[in-house]
């Protein structure tokens, strides 16, 4: 059976080049980079090289990057550092559409007594800039707003947002897990203080991430212990995975143009094809400012989990913002924040492509998808 993987915002395949780069570090090159012998020396060099590759992708200094175990750890560390280094400030600004790795951290600090501002979004998922400007106060310790949304793909105006925070002397963090490797990010011209990224979204394996901390920004470490990562993240370096992330960063740069153009074209072909062949379908998100690989479509009067399971039978992998897929009883917080009507929110499907998606894949999905929706609509008691 044909297999089409369109869930690349959840995780990506490990690139063959990445795997090949990593393998020696599971073999002979097992040294600890901190060791004072050649076993350590060999791998310390590889860690440095990976850091340089990642720095090149983001246009920052290698020393500004801290390797972590995940995007989630990077987010947690950013909050910890920002709040611990400015104990007198008690206010945090974020948005209602963040990933749980930020939202649940915000809720934790809220329970600890911090004041939170959760910024609203409009029906397209765009931030309310006036509300944002008003939310920044002398008591604000941190602004944390995602670079791009994982569910609908919206890209937020991080340039403007971070400049406004900078003017007021407020630290700015962005969860860029979905943006890195998909759109160009140039930290020379972008005044963000901290940025989180994750390896497994850019064809490196799961279990590796990084946090960028701008030179000059005070940093308080979240993990204590050894002096690794210039004392900013204790714990022996995960050498093979760091090497993998470095290779993934190189590939991202090489493929950036292809991603931006070819993937976006395939995505558009898929999206417009589905909208043409399936009635009562609508796109969620800001199509003018979207990741090139993401399409979020709602199908009226059908339920997302049922769609996913029928697609899975056809070898098509996607994801849904429906309540039933998560075990929660409400549709996605992102779609709710956008005010997507219930009869559409429960039937939302996210299709996220990658550099490995082919035109054949898109054709296959376009051929099979309408039948799935028809089957479920035939069962549904809601016909209009």
């Amino acid at each position: 059976m044909k297999s089409v993987y369109l869930d690349n915002n959840a995780t990506t395949a490990v690139a063959p080049e990445v795997l090949a780069a990593m393998l020696p570090y599971f073999g002979d090159l097992y040294g600890n980079p901190s060791s004072m012998h050649s076993f350590g020396g060999q791998v310390a060099g590889a860690v440095d090289e990976a850091r340089e590759s990642l720095a090149e992708l983001l246009h920052c200094e290698p020393e500004e990057l801290i390797f972590t175990a995940s995007g989630t750890e990077s987010d947690n560390s950013a909050f910890w550092s920002a709040l611990q280094s400015q104990p007198e400030k008690r206010h945090i600004v974020t948005s209602k559409v963040e990933h749980p790795a930020v939202l649940n951290v915000c809720q934790f600090w809220e329970r600890e007594g911090y004041h939170l501002t959760y910024l609203d979004v409009d029906h397209l998922g765009r931030l309310d800039m006036e509300q944002y400007k008003k939310s920044l106060t002398p008591d604000t310790a941190l602004v944390s707003i995602m670079f791009a949304n994982n569910e609908v793909g919206n890209i937020f105006p991080i340039q403007t947002l971070s400049e406004l925070a900078r003017e007021k002397g407020i630290l700015f963090h962005t969860d860029a897990v979905q943006a890195v490797g998909k759109i160009p990010i140039d930290l020379r011209h972008l005044p963000v203080d901290m940025l989180s990224l994750s390896g497994h979204k850019i064809n490196a394996p799961k279990g590796i991430g990084a946090l960028y901390v701008r030179k000059g920004v005070r940093f308080r470490s979240f993990l204590r212990g050894g002096h690794q990562e210039l004392g900013r993240r204790a714990g022996t370096e995960n050498v093979p995975y760091i090497v993998g992330l470095g290779m993934a960063a190189k590939l991202s740069q090489e493929f950036m143009q292809k991603e931006r153009v070819d993937v976006a074209l395939l995505r558009d072909q898929l999206e417009s094809g589905l909208l043409e062949s399936i009635p009562d379908a609508r796109v969620n998100g800001d199509i003018e400012n979207r990741l090139p690989n993401t399409s979020n479509i709602s199908f009226k009067n059908v339920e997302g989990e049922a769609i996913l399971l029928l697609l899975d039978r056809l070898g098509i992998a996607a994801s849904s913002g429906s309540a039933c897929t998560s075990g929660s009883l409400e549709p996605s917080h992102v779609l709710r924040a956008m005010g997507v009507p219930f009869n559409y929110a429960h039937g939302s499907i996210r299709l996220s492509l990658s550099r490995y998606t082919t035109e054949d894949d898109v054709k296959y999905v376009l051929k099979e998808f309408p039948g799935v929706i028809k089957t479920l609509r035939d069962i549904s008691p809601f016909k209009d």
């Binding site: 339920e303 989990e305 399971l309 039933c324 409400e330 219930f342 035939d378 008691p381 809601f382």
Partner: protein, 278 residues
């Protein structure tokens, strides 16, 4: 990904009895678009009260579709009165089980069946539990009567289980405290049923039950007023207790002994208990 049984998958992928039933004389509708699942059940019931045909239309996840499909198989050939005795557990069992977060799908099936039969009998379409209860969960429109029914039929012990079975409390969460109260009340009823006196009670049984009632029923009330109580001995029907804390100096301790301690023990242990202060 959910771990559905083969039966759930079979009914989801190839649902039985789909679509409106032209000669239906009973229709039950539950759920709504906003809730994320809805079921419309069509029945053809004979004049002597036997369900001859059943079909459905469902909006919802795989387990909602499978629950509906298996339900239509189950009820055909059943007498209406027997069908009313079906519980959500019977639906779950017929499917070989459901993930616990999906139990509400089987509850929806049972409710639709009840609604359809009410419709046939010419009673108001809303289910019994819906009609009589007080609305607890505003997000999903769940009443206390529905919650109590789910607790009793499925022997639920936690608030999370109540949410899994009824959806109540699964959205904004404002009613979670109220659900906890209903649950606590139900569990208390349950535990009291257990300790209803049997015909003959040994001294040891009597002592254990007295101890339990003192711990669960009496002490919390005294503690709330700064007092406490200790069971000293049980001698036949005589229960010796000692009042502690503020109760020991209280002028009305005699009243406490009669009106609270003795009365409660008589109610829950044996009707002829005599309480004395040690």
């Amino acid at each position: 990904m959910w771990n559905y049984t083969q039966t759930v998958n079979d009914h989801f992928l190839r649902p039985h009895n789909v679509g409106p039933l032209k000669d239906a004389n009973a229709i039950g509708e539950v759920g709504s678009l906003s809730c994320g699942d809805a079921l419309k059940l069509y029945l053809k019931i004979s004049d002597d009260g036997v369900i001859e045909k059943a079909t459905f239309e469902t909006f919802g996840c795989a387990s909602a579709i499978a629950s509906s499909s298996v339900l239509t198989d189950m009820v055909v050939g059943m007498k209406v009165d027997d069908a009313l005795k079906l519980t959500n557990k019977d639906i779950t069992n017929a499917l070989g089980g459901l993930p616990k977060q999906k139990m509400h799908c089987s509850v929806m099936g049972q409710e639709a069946l009840e609604a359809a039969i009410r419709n046939w009998k010419g009673e108001p379409a809303t289910s019994h539990a819906h009609e009589e209860g007080k609305l607890v969960c505003k997000c999903f429109g769940v009443t206390d009567a529905q919650i109590i029914q789910a607790i009793r039929e499925n022997n639920l012990k936690t608030v999370e289980e109540v949410t899994d079975y009824t959806k109540a409390g699964g959205a904004c969460g404002q009613c979670l405290n109220e659900i906890a109260e209903i649950l606590a009340h139900e569990l208390k009823q349950e535990s009291l049923k257990e300790i209803q006196p049997k015909k003959r009670m040994t001294n040891v049984q009597r002592m254990q039950k007295a101890l339990k009632v003192i711990d669960e029923e009496i002490r919390p009330k005294l503690v709330a007023d700064g007092g406490d109580i200790e069971l000293v001995d049980v001698d036949g029907k005589r229960v010796l207790v000692s009042l502690r804390g503020r109760c020991s100096q209280c002028k009305s301790s005699e009243v406490t002994l009669r009106d609270l301690v003795e009365k409660t023990l008589r109610e829950h242990v044996e009707p002829d208990i005599i309480v004395e202060e040690a």
